[in-house]
Amino acid sequence: MAANMKAKQVSHTQTDAGGATVDPEEWLHMYRQMYRIRSFEEEVNDLYTKALMPGLAHLYIGEEAVAVGVCESLKREDYITSTHRGHGHCLAKGASPDRMFAELLGRAPGYCKGKGGSMHIADQEGGNLGANAIVGAGSGIATGAAFSARMRKSGQVAVTFFGEGALGQGLLYEVMNMASLWKLPVVYVCENNLYNEYTHYSQTTAGELSARPAAFGIPVEVVDGQNVRAVYETARRFIERARNGEGPGFVICNTYRYHGHHVGDINRAYYRSKEEETLWKTERDPLNLLSQWLTEQHLADAAIFEQIEKEAREEMRSAVEFAIKAPFPDASEVTQHVYA
């Protein structure tokens, strides 16, 4: 793919990320990462609707720019904590889709030997401390990881992803208070996809969202969560600031989940309109926004995107095939790993 990239034809590098120099290839890499997430989630939807996947599936489609923009600003050894809608974070932090699908299907080669599933997928080697099915709980673990990184003087940063629904959890404010007091290297990334499950956040959230971190003296920025360049630019600044010992940051990414709260949430008219969904999908799609910009800048053309998309779809199909063929865990596994 690299050989036919238009990027090679431009002599200058782009200065788009807050004055930082970004190689055009890096933007294409982010496009690829976002498309891989979308393609992964489309396969999940397919597996789920064909009754091949047990349990629940909360799709990240529509929110890809948040996970990718943030994780591209992290090092592999940095930490993230994730949510029940966590496949995107896991992939963006570097997990491999074959072992992810195996986990989602409860198979032995899964990242957690099939014991965690979609809502608890974790990738220790890649710094993913796990998805979490308790809303807001990841904020505590990430703040603890940041505390640990500081004590160990490791230079690591922790990022916690959470939806705007987690703003209703007291734990978040307790750990933000301590993170600010102790200048911990943690960045709070709020994915505001507008809905706490089936309820618009305006019905659950008093005051201004950004006033909450501000009350703890934590710098906060609101970014267009559909624009991966904006997310990346902001995340990079906050993460570097945290790494330099200047304390926590809080990023509110305005975004949208195209599908329901979970795959089974089909009839959504009672809480949001078809028009609203269509508007986000047509006007605010993170993949389209990036490909349009790259095209306008003469950094890439349709052939490049088609190639990336084709490769991603093939990768995900073969990952699904691997998972479907993978064995279930042996019955003896049920009592393993209760204790270390």
Binding site: I134, A145, M151, L171, V175, N177, Q336, Y339
Partner: protein, 344 residues
């Protein structure tokens, strides 16, 4: 130590070694200091743990040696600092989280039950959560319903957690050192009425393995299984029983999980009668589990049903006149034992 002259394993472990008399609080402090010297990953976090040394003064002086980087005062945010402890434990540290009163465990249930206890299993064995939650139990301090509960059965119920109930300074020190070195989440309960209880503790270093009950007093006619401060209640009853010619054996499980079922069963098989005494609520309590273990393992050897004595099933009342009715006493255990032995 005077009440524990017959403690077999204690005597065995320390035979011929130099000993000193310490209080429970001193023993706990010594365990923490030794482990913090031994392992730079160990730190203490909680409310007023540093200069104040906790309201019970158990941690007094630790901050002088280890500084505020390792003895860390927190805001009054139990869920928050428990969660920070879990995250730190998952990423290479060994926190000791101070939960001032056992009643406040209720505030940390998500961190303890949904996060710490499950991270290893849910990750297929990738994560370790070597964290200790140090907290209290025990009534009769006139502290009323929200500062007097003995909730150790709650973590005992949850796979993934280990639960420690030391009764003597010797046990407190050896078990706390084991707890800190354990790679799993451990909930460690001290009876707040026993911080000044004294006992002999060896000069030299030792640890006590989990899941090994200690026979605090050997006997032939009836087994009194007792946890934490109820060990002293059982020993008091045993003294009285001796006066009427009944020889009681006092068995202290020391950890509810892992549980040394064999020692409990062996003792009941030997004596053919058993009472289980624990300061948690009687209903669905630790006494129920231990009685079931004995009934199951010693059924054909028993001359009487296994009896349970726990806290009265009421919120702990404030008035001393009422509070003292709620916890098992040596007299009540004595009466129950007499009845079981056909001497009523």
């Amino acid at each position: 130590m005077s009440m524990l002259k017959t403690s077999e394993s204690t005597a065995g472990a320390t035979n011929g070694k130099a000993m000193r008399e310490l209080t429970m609080a001193q023993a706990v402090r010594e365990a923490l200091a030794e482990e913090m010297r031994r392992d730079a990953r160990v730190f203490i976090m909680g409310e007023d743990v540093a200069e104040a040394g906790t309201p019970f003064k158990v941690l007094l002086g630790l901050v002088d040696e280890f500084g505020t980087d390792r003895v860390i005062d927190t805001p009054i945010s139990e869920p928050g600092f428990a969660a920070i402890g879990v995250g730190a434990a998952m990423t290479g540290m060994r926190p000791v989280i101070d939960i001032m009163f056992g009643d406040f465990l209720t505030l940390t249930m998500d961190q303890m039950v949904n996060q710490a206890a499950k991270a290893r299993y849910m990750s297929g064995g990738k994560f370790m959560v070597p964290i200790v939650f140090r907290t209290t139990l025990g009534a009769t301090r006139r502290s009323a319903a929200q500062h007097s509960q003995s909730l150790h059965v709650w973590p005992s119920h949850v796979p993934g957690l280990k639960v420690v109930l030391p009764s003597t300074p010797y046990d407190a020190k050896g078990l706390l050192k084991t707890a800190i070195r354990d790679d799993n989440p451990v909930v460690y309960f001290e009876d707040k009425m026993n911080f000044t209880t004294k006992g002999m503790v060896p000069d030299e270093e030792y640890t006590i393995p989990f899941g090994v009950a200690d026979i605090k007093r050997a006997g032939a006619d009836i087994t009194l299984v007792a946890t934490s401060s109820m060990v002293y209640v059982a020993l008091g009853a045993a003294d009285k029983l001796k006066e009427i010619g009944i020889s009681a054996e006092v068995v202290d499980p020391r950890t509810t999980f892992p549980l040394d079922k064999q020692t409990l069963v062996d003792s009941a098989r030997k004596t053919s009668r058993a009472i289980v005494i624990d300061e948690g609520y009687e209903r669905y309590g630790v006494t129920a589990e231990l009685a079931a273990v004995i009934a199951d393992g010693a059924f054909y050897y028993l001359d009487a049903p296994v009896k349970r004595m726990g806290a009265m099933d009421v919120p702990i009342p404030f008035s001393p006149a009422l509070e003292d009715l709620t916890a098992p006493t040596a007299d009540a255990v004595f009466q129950m034992a007499k009845t079981l032995c056909g001497r009523a």
